[in-house]
């Protein structure tokens, strides 16, 4: 098992940095080329969410990212330092109880419905994207913060 750990300042520009690193490590782990875009986007969404939460509550704290390459899975863990009750923003609810599913978005017929859902916190486009892209997603809320764990299948013969 190989692990890459990264912590970065809660700045929007470093979400891109995180995406670049994730893409490089995922490629090395043997992730299928077709899945690379999905990994990059899902991890970027998780990092964007963490950065936004930090900027509201603890801008000096870094966002943490772990990339774990096992024999058959490529796992990514994005951790923020904002207690769950605050991460969804004003009016939002805590993950995972308030986690909007990708299906929730499909039920919205108009931009007004969508805007309302976004405004009242009942829908989070970023989480909807993560749910739609990651093969396996787990969101854990602890007093220390929110952890989003995602994983995808990787090639068994990943290089060391």
């Amino acid at each position: 098992m190989a692990t890459v750990e990264l912590s970065f300042s809660a700045l929007p520009v470093h979400v891109r940095t995180a995406r670049l690193i994730v893409t490089a490590v995922a490629r090395r782990s043997g992730i299928d080329q077709d899945l690379l875009d999905e990994v990059r986007l899902a991890v970027g969404e998780a990092c964007s969410r963490a950065v936004a939460a930090h900027r509201r509550h603890c801008p000096d704290e870094p966002v943490r990212l772990e990339l774990i390459d096992t024999d058959h899975r490529f796992e990514v863990i994005v951790s923020d330092s904002v207690p769950g009750d605050d991460t969804a923003g004003p009016g939002g609810s805590a993950a995972p109880a308030g986690l909007p599913e990708a299906g929730a978005a499909r039920g919205l017929e108009t931009a007004e419905d969508l805007e309302t859902a976004l405004d009242d916190g009942s829908m989070d486009l970023g989480l909807a994207v993560i749910e739609g892209l990651a093969e396996d997603v787990e969101i854990t809320t602890t007093p220390k913060g929110v952890q989003i764990r995602m994983s995808w299948p990787s090639a068994p013969a990943a290089t060391s």
Partner: protein
């Protein structure tokens, strides 16, 4: 890569916004400012050409939804040109294909616009 955003208005009154690069949490404000600026200038029929967009995340989606809401307040429209499967997939996942008109080309969008008049 930085985001490049340019626009021009056709004789028919359609404002085409060409976007090139990555639309994410870092660059999306630039697109948001452009959409707000155009609406403030009275441009209410917008077509966002996304054929050269290399990356789009939920922040970018939020900006497009915000733009749509603004132009609709003036009985306007905001539609998209996009044929890239990896970008279209994001619209499908979030259900936004029901919200935005999505065209294969600028010419296709113009033709449908003329037909609807």
């Amino acid at each position: 890569m930085d985001l490049k955003v340019n626009d021009y208005t056709t004789d028919d009154g359609l404002t085409v916004i060409t976007v090139e690069g990555e639309i994410d949490v870092y660059t999306a404000p630039k697109l948001r400012e452009k959409l707000i600026d155009l609406v403030n200038k009275g441009k209410f029929h917008l077509l966002v050409d996304m054929e050269k967009v290399e990356f789009l995340d939920s922040t970018g989606l939020g900006v497009l939804v915000g733009g749509l809401k603004r132009v609709r307040a003036h009985d306007g429209s905001l539609e998209l040109v996009c044929t890239q499967e990896r970008i279209l997939k994001i619209f499908r996942i979030t259900g936004l294909t029901k919200v935005f008109g999505i065209h294969d080309s600028i010419a296709d969008a113009e033709e449908k616009r003329k037909g609807a008049k």
